[in-house]
Amino acid sequence: MTNLGGGLAVEAIGLSKHYGAAAAVQAIDLAIPQGEFFGLLGPNGAGKTSTIHMLSSLIAPSSGAARVAGFDLRSQRLEIRRRIGVVFQGLALDLSLSAAENLRFAGRLNGLHGTEIERRSGELLALFGLEKHRHAPAAALSGGMRRALDIARGVIHRPRILFLDEPTSGLDLLNRRAIWRHVADLRSATGMTVFLTTHYLEEAADCDAVAFLNAGRIVRRGKPGELVDALGCCLIEVETDQPAEVARRLEPRFGAALIEPDRVSFTCEREPADLALLGGELEGAARALRWRRPNLNDVFLRINQPDARRRAA
């Protein structure tokens, strides 16, 4: 533990979680500075939720060490819980209580007193656009409003670190955007560290740093922009019924292809000059041909490239 400490919001060394013989999280290292917006990304079952549950002190690590908000994960669990907020995948709300009553209940569980709870509830309901629904039962709120209330519930005690476990899953695009505006407002108002997990990778583009988790291991990490830039300036995508054939023809020119069942894509350093010419070369093997800027989804797909190849085979 001597390496752990300093001004980091979350620091983990070799953190692992096993369920019987199955390894959910395998020796991950994290160093998240205070105030950072950090995204832990990966497919379903990658170990994201187990990582959040360990870091929020709900489940004990099988091995490894971590400090959260400066406190030891194994021996100072209550100290940690006083300083973190957690928004689970499932709502942590009492649907039979009103919005204000939910915040009051959460505030009291966190040791706040009446006037303090009222003041903070008012601020949060205003920040999240829920003032008009203050007295509405949570059951009567829309999915997006319930999630906003759930996040307000998670920060009523002004945590230093907010853990968000796939907070937008199941929400439509407008509500997802609203949730991200709320999180951005919250960060600018409080400067809190936000630890996000999501499998909607485009939502992690605003993160200061991300780590890709696959089968319990961190397989890549960095700033989203740098990870995307590292792929090259552009991506050429060929829609085709013959992915292996298209890859064979174009790999000598563009390098390794990402092969999926209905498409093949290549990264390149320059915008392609003439896609029509390329289409001609493929002699009808391509249904459609286009180029675009890469994004975090492309980083993810290339991390899992061997899988993509297997699927195409």
Partner: protein, 260 residues
């Protein structure tokens, strides 16, 4: 932050919820009234007097106890109920030792049961079911002790239960045996040997016995025995249920289920 504040918050929330569900509150009066009026009336016809009092008078502490037992046990069992999962998520992430969640839910269950019992008292009092000899302070103590015992009993079962899927099973294997193996419906000392022993070991029996002391309807044990059994049982039950609830393996599977 004090655990007491969290326990109070949970109990307050459970009580507030009970008052919102007025239908549930009124429905909880149906069972004891049926027993008292219909079954009590029926048995009174076959057994004219138990210890000199009419059978219905004898049954009054029994149906008060029944109201507390069903109210507290069902509220405690709801800890494993899906509809409670949002609340449980709030509780597991609160800065509170997880064993305190058990104490908090027990306090909530006991409070809910007490309110139901008071409502039944209010319904029964005008009909002369409580004579001038009733000791109201001891009745209050008896109801509080019964509520405590039943809530702790419920939490003991809830700590081993992940959900309330098997409602009928809970009623048949837990609540009904506790009710029937007590002095609610018949004098404990008249039960055959093994049943009498089982009833004497049932903490709920001692709760009803305290109510019999208060209503002068033939208690079977002395008051200090009743109180001692209930207090020792409740402390032990909360300790065992708390340890079970917060044991890593059990707690982690609960967290995994709740997180979805």
């Amino acid at each position: 932050m004090s655990a007491a504040q969290a326990v109070g918050a949970v109990a307050m929330r459970d009580v507030r919820k009970l008052f919102r569900q007025r239908g549930r509150l009124l429905a909880s009066m149906i069972r004891p009234l049926l027993w008292l009026v219909v079954i009590g009336g029926g048995f009174a016809a076959t057994e004219p007097a138990v210890r000199g009092a009419g059978y219905q008078s004898f049954l009054v502490p029994g149906v008060l106890g029944m109201t507390v037992l069903f109210g507290a046990a069902l509220a405690a069992l709801a800890t494993g109920y899906d509809k409670e999962s949002g609340v449980m998520r709030m509780l597991i992430i609160a800065p509170l030792e997880h064993a305190w969640i058990v104490a908090a839910k027990a306090a909530g269950a006991a409070a809910v049961a007490l309110i139901q019992a008071v409502l039944l008292l209010i319904i029964l009092a005008p009909f002369g079911y409580f004579g001038a000899e009733v000791s109201w302070p001891w009745l209050a103590v008896g109801l509080a002790a019964t509520a405590l015992a039943c809530a702790c009993l419920g939490m003991l079962v809830a700590a081993w239960t992940q959900s309330l899927d098997n409602y009928a099973g809970m009623m048949n294997f837990f609540i009904f045996p506790v009710f029937f193996l007590s002095g609610s419906l018949y004098p404990v000392e008249r039960l055959p040997g093994a049943l009498r022993l089982a009833a004497a070991a049932n903490p709920y029996t001692h709760g009803v016995d305290l109510l019999r002391h208060a209503t002068h309807t033939g208690p079977a044990f002395n008051r200090s025995t009743d109180l001692a059994v209930i207090i020792v049982f409740s402390v032990a039950a909360i300790a065992v249920a708390g340890a079970r609830f917060s044991a890593d393996g059990v707690f982690e599977s609960r967290v995994r289920r709740l997180a979805q």
